[in-house]
Structures are given as structure tokens and as C-alpha cells.
Amino acid sequence: MDMETLLAYDWGIMAPEFTIVIIATLLSLLDLFLPHSFHRKWLSVFAGVGILVAFVFTLSQLGQEADMILYDTYRLDLFATSFKLLLLIGAGLVLGLSASYHRKREQGEFYYLLLTALLGAMMMASSADLITLFVGLELLSISSYILAGIDKQSLKSNESAMKYVINGGMATAITLFGFSYLYGLTGSTQLTTISEILPSLIRTPAQGLLIMAFIMTFVGLAFKISTVPFHMWTPDVYEGAPIPVTAFLSVVSKAAGFIILLRVFLTLFGTLEGLRLNETFMQSMALWIGVLAALTMILGNILALRQHNMKRLFAYSSVAHAGYLLVPVVALSTLTLENIWFYLLVYMFMTVGGLAIIYVLYEKHGTLDLEMFSGLYKRSPALAILMTIFILSLAGIPGTAGFIGKLNIILGALSTDPAPIVLVSIMIAATVLSYVFYFGILVQIYFRSNPFQVTIKVPIVMKTTLWICAIAIIGLGILPNLALDFYHHYVDLINVTEMLWMRG
């Protein structure tokens, strides 16, 4: 690659990523050279500005034609742009959650690790090559490992980081193993090229290897979205990590997992001929993914039933939500991307909102047990009402965005083919099961006596974050088309078939 080719690329399509890189580098330098007396909380302002600028850049890219640079390894299309917006919103919310409590002054690294992790996620959204994709994935993973252990003095945090590294290592190994099969079968790492060669493998002896590649890759990536069988690390890591990191893992990291899953599997297998006649490869494997989705929903909700630790409860709840999000992947239709996009958006608001309140109460009462909520309505009616909104949305009660998200998933799944009705029924049953622990929290808030005779003061940034989340949930619950219209206006062009760009 000579200088001329390099300069010939339209580097503008990487503007959001460059912004994040520059800000992250700047922050690390500032952290290094600024005197100790300078409070590191001000770094969060830089990080916030960086995310905002990247967000604006991404918005400005919305109308652009799809384009690839760097020898077709980096792709900007509407899929990438729309999901990058989600990542940036998620990261912004996590930043809002984290910027309020500072006990240690040396925590500047939190902010630039957050940014590098975000950068990895954004690269994953744009990658068109297994190598780029893997580099993005590892950038996200390694940053997350350190983030989980960022509370150096805490044993729990150390344990969490350790477990995360080991499990993540296994996942990476499995993913790479799957990738190596793909490479071995096709001789290429470029997604377009692979997808052009794959059809020639169907109904040959190599088909078995292709299935192995499919399953290995899927299981490896299941780690990031924490679905069965790679879900067990979730509660342990979520519990030990500091709350902002927990929020990051359950919001940004999970979204990134879904992005890479959609990118790889829809591109490679979306229109590939299936094992039987008249079906696509994804349809052949639908039952298989469906079983994983069902197990994930059921296990996540059942295990949450016995939880009293709020972080663990949210961890299981995030497992269950990953199960719901797999339903559109099983029932592929033109609505799949839209459903996942909308649900992830809603999920970000309600999870960050819920964890933010847990954070506030944890800082005040020093406990993570369910009883932190007892009598909250008497202590702080505003927090109680906010938490009620988040809980109702997580449970999927009408009037909240969570309901619309679930409704869209259900209707989308049944829109083309009635077969997923079984999966949808399981999803509804699992949702009903989840009422038990969600409403358990509400019972604590409204009907238990108030053991803490203190007033709770919420820092201003936290308050803003909470209200943004609550308004977004109610707003999208009453007027879901605010988001859906936006999506349709720009992104409708990429339904599943159109996403398979290599075919056209």
C-alpha cells in the first residue's frame, strides 16, 4: 500500500472513529501529565464532548451511499451508521451514569478505556472483513477486561476481571476456531468474497464443516451477548465490576455483540441456500437458534427469581433480554433489523436508568441487597416513580417503550411465517415469569416500611441521566414512531435482503 492509495481513500467515513481515537489519546496524555491536584472528573467532560462530536459525525453520515475503504475491509453503510448511533447513545448514557461519584482521584483511565472499548464496538459495526472484525472485538474485550477490574482495591472487582478474562479467552478461542473454518473453506477473510464462495459448498461433503463453522462462530459470539451456553459469567462479572462498568457491559458491549452477530450471519448465511430445498441457511438453523433463545429467556428469568443482589438480578435480566433479542434473528423477516434496533435502543434507556438508581442507593446505603428499595417511596418519591417507570418498561407493561419493543418483536416474528408461534409463546411466558421479580421490587418500593431515615440527594448529572432515560421510555412508549419514523426515513432501505450487499 503506497501513499497515493492511502490518500485516495475517503477517510471521512471514519470521522466518528477518529474523533474517539483522538479524544481517547488526548485523555490518556492529560491523565499522565496533569498534576494530581487536578480532579480527574473533568476528564468526563472531554469524553462527553468527544462522544457528542462523534454522534454528530455519525448523524451526518446517515444519508450517504454505502462505501468501502482499506481494500474492502472497512464498510460504511446504513446498517453500520444506524447501529453506531445506538452505541454512541449507550456510551453517552453510561458516561452520564459514571460521572457523578468519584472516590478516587486516579480513575482517569476509566474514561479513556471506555472510549477505546467504544471504538472497538464501532469498528465491529463497520467491519467487512473477519480480521478487522476480530481486531474490533478484541479492542472492545480487552478494554472491558481492564474496566471490570478498575476498582483495584476491591477483591470483588479483581475476581470479576479475572473471570471475565478467562471466559472471554475461551470465547475468543472458539470464535477464532469458527473463523478459521470459514477461512479454510473459502480461502478468504473478506465477508463479500466468502459469501460468494459459500454457495458452491452446499450439498458437498464440506457442508458439515460449514455447519461446524456456523455453530462455533455463533457460540463464540454468544459470549458477548451472554446467551446460553455462554451466559454463566454474566452475574459474577456484573456483580464484581463497578456499576458504571456493569452498565457498559450490559448496554454497549451487548449491543456490539448483536451488531457483529447480525453482520456476520446475515451477510454470510442470510440468503445462502439451506440444507433442504427452498429455504435459506439461516432458516435451516432457525430451530437451533430458537432453542438457544428459548433456553436463554427461561434460564435468565428463572435464575433471577431467587436473586436478592440487585446487580445479579440485573445481570440475569440482561440474559433474559438477550433471549428476547434473539427471537427476530430466529424469525428472519424484513422487520428483523428494525425490531432489534428499536429494542436495543429501549433496552439501553431502561437498563441504564435502573442501574443508575441502584448506583445512587448503593452510594447512600452501602448495600446491594433488594432491601435497598424498601420504603423508597417514603424516602424519595421522585426516585420511586423513576424506578417504577424503568421496572414497568423492563417488564413490558403497556404505556412504556419496553412494551412497544416486545410487541414489535412478537408481531415481526409472526409477520411472515406462523411457525415461530412456539417461540413467541415461550417469550410471553418468560415475560410473565419476569413479573415476579420485577414487581417484587415495586412491592419493596411502595409497601415496605422505610428503614433508612435519610434524605437522598442525587447529583445533577445523574439526575439528568435519569430523567433523560425516563422521558425517553415514556415518550417512546406513547409515541414509538418518534424513533421508528427516524429509522424508516433513513434506514428502511436496508432490510435484510438489501443488507446482503455482496449479492447485488
Binding site: K163, G208, I211, M212, M232, M285, V291, G412
Partner: protein, 625 residues
């Protein structure tokens, strides 16, 4: 000017939110002020919209609310003559009732809650009127039902109030099921719930005539429930357990008229089916005379008015069913004013006399002159006294029926007109004029109500007199022309005023008043003659022809039987299954938690085992074994 219409419902919603948050006692005086102010703003907005509609014509704006695939559900607002008129009626009556309540409910413990509920109801009612499609209408239709439920049961410490609230909710729900099914059918047939799309489909013949009839009848069932038409009328008299201002607002002027409004809004749909129109007309006529008969013998001042409301709503349905679109809407308008006036005046009497039983009143004219005069105006208006508003609208209704050549129904309507004059003046004479002496001690304590209660009544009295002149054979049918101008599907049938009809109705009215005068004032006719001659019949009429008893013995009884069987099934079958599921869940939880032991090697082993199992399944699917 009409573009502001969508803001109007949000004013009363503000009352709801504010009064709900600040419902402590020390905020009470603010609650009533906030309530009056916001409904005042809503009234100003409504009048602006009305004037705007007259100048600039209809307007509609919708935004898409939820799109699933290609199906888009939208929300928005529509302004046409009919709902601009309804907006003004609702916000005006609500505004006056808010003022009146300040006096009537003074000293109430839960005043904040009361105003919050009133605001909520007004919000839902205004939003219902503005709805441009059936789905939105249905949502607010349910919300007004909820508001009505809450307000009927406002004195929830009284068992009767609780029972009445429950009854009202359940009986209107029966109707709502019809409406819901009708709505689903419409969606299935038309693919949209927008009014304009429905009318287009009907006029374009996209629905076959049997389906049109079915849909219209199902929707009419909803209207029957809400508007207290036979056989779903018996919740309305019981709903009088609510505070009297509530009765005036909800159960006289606005919510119960929503059924009539629904039929009027969907008039093109109904007009497309002769069967549906006939059913509407017959139901209306029967309800009118049926309820009027019961009203004659009631002993509770509010129940008389309640049955009278049922009867008058029947009139409106009769008019609509006889193609008298204008007549129905006209009567709805005048009725809203004079019936609200009558209820508020009755409230004023109850406020002073501390009883609702007619037998314990009498000779109140001297103690409360103001209320007496106002009640008299309302009575004259409803009785159809010439020059009062009820006279014009009732004549219009009867004329529509005559033109449609429903002669039997026309006769029923005439008899009802006579009965109305009779029972209303019976009420007036017994309450205000009768010479019966109330014990001196009690009489001393009866005073005229405060000015804050009298003023709203004066406004309503002016309207009860004057509202008739917007549509007369003498000065011109302004209302009719205007209503027809805004709706391409409505054709105005010019009714040249039939002089003989005017004479007949006037004669009947005077006959009714005269008979009431002889019986209850002069006591020349023995008022107990009929009841003693036919005790069985009297008993039947007094108890509303035992409709409630019938329901009690059939529907309620059957439901209770079902309930007992259901309880048994639930206890032994369902609970057994539930326990089983519960046990399984607990077992799975325990097993899964055991695996979740915090040991990374276990997790790794699980992943390994999982991967192998998945590979086996996947390869088997590919038939490699």
C-alpha cells in the same frame, strides 16, 4: 385557529396531575382554582376552535403513532361542526360544574382527589371528541368510563356507591365489547380505522350490505351501553350515588351523550343500512317511553332526573334512527344545558335540605327562591314549553320521525312528550310547591345556596332558554345548515315546520302540566288512585319493570354459578397445575443455581459441554449421522 384543537384536552389533564400530586388538605383551595382555571382555558380554546371552524372549515391532522409492517396506526385530531359543537358543550358544562363544585363540595376531605378525577374525566371526554379514528376514540371511550367509575364511587365508604360504580363499569363494558368487535370487523374489512376511510369504504360499496349492518349494530351496542339505552340502562339511575355535580357533568350532559355522539359521528355508516337505522330508532323510542313511565313514580329527586335522562337520550337515538341527524344533535345540545341545569338545581336543593327523597321536601319555594326559579326554567325547557329550547329540539325530533313515516314510533314520542311534562312538573310541585309542612326545626335550617353555586346555574338557565334559537322554523335552521356544511356525507332534509305538530306538542305539554297541577298541587285528582287500583303494576313501575331483578336472577345468578364452578376448578385443577409448575421452576432454579457456583472451571465445562451438544444437534440437522 382550529390548529390549536389538540392542546385543549391537555388543560384539564394538568388539573389531574397537579391536584393528584398536591392533594393534601392545605392545597385544597388551590385545587379548585386550578381546576376552574384550566377548564376555563379549555373553554376559551373550544370557542376559538368553534369560531375557527365556522370561518375556515374543517381541519384534520394526524401523525403516525405505531407502524407495524405496512399497517400504520395514527393519532391526531379532527375538527368538524359536530365535534366543535361537542367541544364547546363539554368544556362549558365542565367549566360550570368546576365552579359549582367549589360550593357544593366545600369541606370535603378528599377535595383534591375530586378535582383530579374531574380533570381526568374532562381530559378524556375532550380527547374522545377530537379523535379522528375509531382506535383513539375507543381508548378515550374506556378512559371516560374509568373517570365515571371513579367519580360514581367517590363516596366509596358507602356500600351503595361502591356497588353502583361496579355496576356502571360492568354494564357499560358489555356494550364496549360490542364496540370492540365492531371495530375489529371494520379493521378487517377496511384495513383502517380512520373515519374518512370507513366512510369511503361504505359509500364506495367496499363492504357488502350484510357486513355494514352487522358492524353498525355492534357499534350501536357500544352506544347503548354508554348512553343508557334499553336494555343496558339500569346502571344510570344507580350512578346517582356519585356527587351531584358529577351527575350533572357525566351522567346528564357529556359522557352519556357519547353514545349518541358515536352514532352521529358514524352516521354515514348507519345510514347505509336500513336495518341498523330501524333498530336505532326502535331502541330509542322504546327507551324514551319506558324510562318516562318509570320516572313518574320515582321518589328520589335524582333518580327522577336520571330516568328522565335515559328517556331524553332515547329521543336522540330515535331522531338519529329516523335520519334526523340535525334533530339528534340539536336535542343533544339543548338537553346538555337544561339537564345539567336541573341536576345542579337538584344538587342545590339536596345541599340545603340534606335529603334526596321527594317525600321529605315540599314548600321549598319560599326558602330558596333562586333555586326554585332556576329549576322551573329547566323544567319548562325539558317539558317542551313553547319558546324554551326543549320545545324547538323536541319538535325537530318528532318532525324527523313523522317525515320518516314511522307512525308508531311517532305516537310513542308524542306520549313521551306528555309524560315528560307530567313527571317533571310532578317533581317541581312536590319539591317546591306542595303545602306539606316540613317540621319547623328543619325548615329553619334550609337556606339558599351560596352564589358560587347559583351563578353557574344562571348561565345554564340562559342557555336552556336561548339555545333553541340556533335552529328554528321561524328564524332559520342555522345549526342544520352549518352541520351539513362540514360533512359531505350528511344531506340536510329541509323540514318545513309543520304548524299542526307544534300545536299538538304544545297541547300535550300543557295537558301534562295541568294534570300534574291537579294531582299534586290542587289534589283534585287522587294521586294514589292508579297505584291503589293496580298495586302490582305500580310495584313493577317503581322497580323499573324489574329489569334489575331480571338481571339479578339470570345474568348475575348464572355468573355466580359459573363463579362457583370456576372457583372449584381453580382450587383443584388450576392450582394443582400451578403448584406443579411452581415446583418444577423451583427445582430448575435450584439446579441452575447449583451450577452457578462461581467456579470458572464449571462455567468453562458448561461451555464445552454446551458446544459439543450443540454441534451434535447441528450436525444431526444436517443429517451427518
Amino acid at each position: 385557529m382550529t390548529q390549536i384543537a389538540w392542546i385543549i384536552p391537555f388543560f384539564p389533564l394538568m388539573t389531574f396531575l397537579l391536584c393528584f400530586i398536591f392533594q393534601k388538605r392545605e392545597w385544597h383551595h388551590l385545587c379548585s382554582r386550578v381546576g376552574i382555571m384550566t377548564t376555563g382555558l379549555a373553554l376559551i380554546g373550544s370557542i376559538t376552535v368553534l369560531i375557527g371552524q365556522m370561518i375556515f372549515g374543517n381541519s384534520e391532522a394526524v401523525i403516525s403513532w405505531l407502524s407495524i409492517g405496512d399497517t400504520v396506526f395514527s393519532i391526531g385530531y379532527i375538527v368538524n361542526p359536530l365535534n366543535a359543537l361537542m367541544l364547546v358543550i363539554v368544556s362549558l358544562v365542565s367549566f360550570l360544574v368546576h365552579i359549582y363544585s367549589k360550593g357544593y363540595m366545600a369541606g370535603e376531605e378528599r377535595l383534591g382527589t375530586f378535582y383530579a378525577y374531574l380533570g381526568f374525566f374532562t381530559f378524556a371526554m375532550l380527547a374522545l371528541v377530537l379523535s379522528p379514528n375509531l382506535l383513539q376514540l375507543y381508548m378515550f371511550w374506556e378512559l371516560v368510563g374509568l373517570g365515571s367509575f371513579l367519580l360514581i364511587g367517590f363516596y366509596f365508604h358507602k356500600a351503595e356507591a361502591r356497588a353502583a360504580a361496579k355496576k356502571a363499569f360492568l354494564m357499560t363494558r358489555v356494550g364496549d365489547v360490542g364496540l370492540l368487535i365492531g371495530m375489529i370487523l371494520v379493521f378487517w374489512q377496511v384495513g383502517s380505522l380512520e373515519f374518512s376511510a370507513i366512510f369511503q369504504a361504505v359509500s364506495g360499496g367496499d363492504m357488502d350490505s350484510g357486513m355494514v349492518t352487522l358492524v353498525a349494530l355492534l357499534i350501536f351496542i357500544g352506544a347503548v351501553g354508554k348512553s343508557g339505552q334499553f336494555p343496558l340502562h339500569s346502571w344510570l339511575p344507580d350512578a346517582m350515588e356519585g356527587p351531584t355535580p358529577v351527575s350533572a357533568l357525566i351522567h346528564a350532559a357529556t359522557m352519556v351523550a357519547a353514545g349518541v355522539y358515536l352514532v352521529a359521528t358514524l352516521f354515514p355508516l348507519f345510514e347505509a343500512s336500513d336495518t341498523a337505522m330501524l333498530v336505532v330508532a326502535i331502541t330509542g323510542a322504546f327507551t324514551a317511553i319506558f324510562a318516562a313511565c318509570i320516572a313518574i313514580v320515582q321518589t328520589d329527586i335524582k333518580r327522577v332526573l336520571a330516568y328522565s335522562t335515559v328517556s331524553q337520550l332515547g329521543y336522540m337515538m330515535l331522531a338519529l334512527g329516523s335520519a334526523g341527524y340535525v334533530a339528534g344533535v340539536f336535542h343533544l345540545t339543548t338537553h346538555a344545558f337544561f339537564k345539567a341545569l336541573l341536576f345542579l338545581a337538584a344538587g342545590s336543593v339536596i345541599h340545603a335540605a340534606h335529603t334526596q327523597l321527594i317525600g321529605e321536601m315540599g314548600g321549598l319555594w319560599k326558602r330558596m327562591k333562586g333555586t326554585g326559579w332556576l329549576f322551573l326554567i329547566g323544567t319548562l325547557a325539558i317539558a317542551g314549553m313553547p319558546l324554551f329550547s326543549g320545545f324547538f329540539s323536541k319538535e325537530e325530533v318528532l318532525l324527523a320521525v313523522w317525515k320518516e313515516e314511522h307512525y308508531v314510533l311517532f305516537t310513542l314520542g308524542l306520549i313521551t312528550a306528555f309524560l315528560t311534562a307530567f313527571y317533571m312538573f310532578r317533581l317541581f310541585f312536590l319539591v317546591f310547591m306542595s303545602k306539606k309542612i316540613i317540621p319547623y326545626k328543619r325548615r329553619k335550617k334550609i337556606f339558599e345556596s351560596p352564589r358560587v353555586m347559583i351563578l353557574p346555574m344562571v348561565v345554564l338557565a340562559l342557555l336552556a332558554v336561548g339555545a333553541g334559537y340556533i335552529h328554528t322554523g321561524w328564524f332559520g335552521p342555522f345549526l342544520g345548515e352549518w352541520l351539513a356544511s362540514g360533512n359531505e356525507y350528511i344531506t340536510l332534509h329541509p323540514h318545513e315546520g309543520a304548524g299542526w305538530l307544534m300545536a299538538v306538542t304544545t297541547l300535550l305539554t300543557f295537558l301534562g302540566i295541568w294534570m300534574a297541577y291537579l294531582m299534586y298541587q290542587k289534589e283534585k285528582l287522587d294521586r294514589n288512585y292508579l297505584s291503589e287500583a293496580f298495586p302490582g303494576v305500580y310495584e313493577a313501575v317503581l322497580n323499573g319493570f324489574f329489569v334489575d331483578v331480571l338481571y339479578q336472577r339470570t345474568v348475575v345468578f348464572a355468573t355466580k354459578c359459573l363463579g362457583i364452578v370456576g372457583t372449584w376448578v381453580e382450587r383443584y385443577v388450576i392450582q394443582g397445575i400451578l403448584h406443579f409448575i411452581e415446583d418444577i421452576t423451583i427445582l430448575v432454579t435450584k439446579l441452575a443455581s447449583k451450577l452457578q457456583n462461581g467456579q470458572v472451571q464449571t462455567y468453562g465445562a458448561m461451555v464445552g459441554v454446551g458446544l459439543v451438544v450443540l454441534l451434535l444437534i447441528g450436525l444431526m440437522q444436517g443429517r451427518f449421522f
